[in-house]
């Protein structure tokens, strides 16, 4: 395989594998938030805010992978 092919493959693998962890994390987070919502529907506001904050943290890891993929394709 030549270098160009490897680069494209590496970028695809980087974002593809890097999205797995955050996806699981966001799933767990949302499930926890739904359960909390079911038990205590009045706490909708705080649950929503904190869930979105935590999701943004999990999402940041996917963003790191995305940066690596972008750098591989456009810069390296």
């Amino acid at each position: 395989m030549d270098v160009e092919t490897m680069k494209v493959l590496a970028a695809a693998l980087a974002i593809g594998l890097g999205a797995q962890g955050p996806a699981i994390a966001i799933g767990i987070l949302a499930s926890g938030a739904m359960q909390a919502l079911g038990r205590n529907p009045e706490a909708r506001g705080p649950i929503m805010t904190n869930m979105i904050l935590a999701i943004a943290f999990a999402e940041a890891i996917a963003i790191y992978a995305l940066i690596v993929a972008i750098i591989l394709i456009f810069v390296a």
Partner: protein, 297 residues
């Protein structure tokens, strides 16, 4: 005009969208591939100091924020009206958020920096969504004249450094030099253990040395985590904003005019969340730094 049912309206909207799509394709042919550059591009230089497009955008943000503040505070009244009312309401929301986390006493002290970070990041993110950013090229290579300041890695890095310096300053100031530094350089237990060993208490000395080594190692980990915060804050903001910009560029390129609208909404939301996270994380780090460690001797 005859009454049209719900499905009829949806059909008309879809038809109009398709018409816009086709008209857009016909009237505005797009280049082969959008121009993508990760680093900010220099437009011109003053005395060898390059002025980049992100820098221009940051100055534009400063001008806008300064203008709004000036207009809001020009004729201040006890009972606010109009713009002053809006700005005051927003600031009260922010100050409530800060005081909820940091408490009344420290909240007032931390508020200026947290609010500055939050407002600057969110203004940068939202201004970058205005038409004109990224799409006005100048020069031979069509370098975009304006580009959101958050998408230049130097800007998040500078903010993260400001946040880091501020956190360390408040940690030192509120706890005193020696108590704050002991969090990072905790070798007291180790020396005590060695002392006990020399005094002949072999068993007690050895166990004290073991806990001392663990404490010193914890301090080392604290140093690392303190430094990693800078990198993580930087990359989080830079990555989110760059990814959003690329997403909008790609969507504009794939289907002009129509497909991009939901993504603008998404970017509005992400800009808000990222500003909240940058400010909120700085706030949490500050609270951690000023909270005294529990002593267990």
């Amino acid at each position: 005009m005859a009454r049209i049912g719900l499905w009829g309206r949806i059909g008309i909207i879809i038809l109009v969208l398709f018409a816009l799509l086709i008209v857009g394709r016909l009237l505005f042919p797009l280049p082969e591939m959008p121009h993508i550059e990760l680093a900010a591009e220099g437009l011109f230089s003053i005395f060898g100091f390059p002025i980049t497009n992100t820098m221009l955008a940051a100055w534009l943000t400063i001008l806008v924020l300064g203008g709004v503040s000036y207009a809001a505070t020009r004729k201040m009244k006890i009972v606010p009206k109009g713009l002053q009312n809006i700005v005051e309401a927003l600031l009260v929301m922010l100050i409530n958020f800060v005081e909820d986390v940091a408490g009344k006493e420290y909240g007032r002290k931390f508020f200026p920096v947290i609010a500055t970070i939050f407002i600057f990041v969110i203004a940068n993110a939202w201004l970058a969504l205005l038409p004109g950013f990224m799409f006005i090229g100048i020069g031979e290579e069509q370098v975009p004249l304006l580009r959101g300041a958050n998408t230049d890695i130097n800007f998040p890095l500078a903010l993260a450094l400001v946040s880091f310096v501020f956190v360390e300053y408040w940690g030192l100031r509120s706890q005193g030099f020696f108590r704050y530094v002991r969090k990072f350089l905790n070798v007291g237990g180790l020396f005590r253990g060695i002392g006990q060993l020399f005094r002949g208490k072999i068993r007690g000395g050895l166990s004290a040395i073991l806990t001392g080594v663990i404490e010193a190692f914890t301090g080392f980990i604290e140093i690392i985590s303190e430094l990693v915060r800078i990198v993580s804050l930087t990359i989080r903001l830079f990555g989110n904003m760059t990814a959003g910009e690329l997403l909008i560029l790609m969507m504009l390129f794939l289907i002009p005019w129509v497909a991009v609208i939901p993504f603008y909404g998404l970017e509005l939301f992400i800009g808000f969340v990222q500003a909240l996270i940058f400010g909120g994380l700085t706030l949490v780090f500050l609270v951690i730094a000023v909270t005294p460690r529990e002593e267990h001797e």
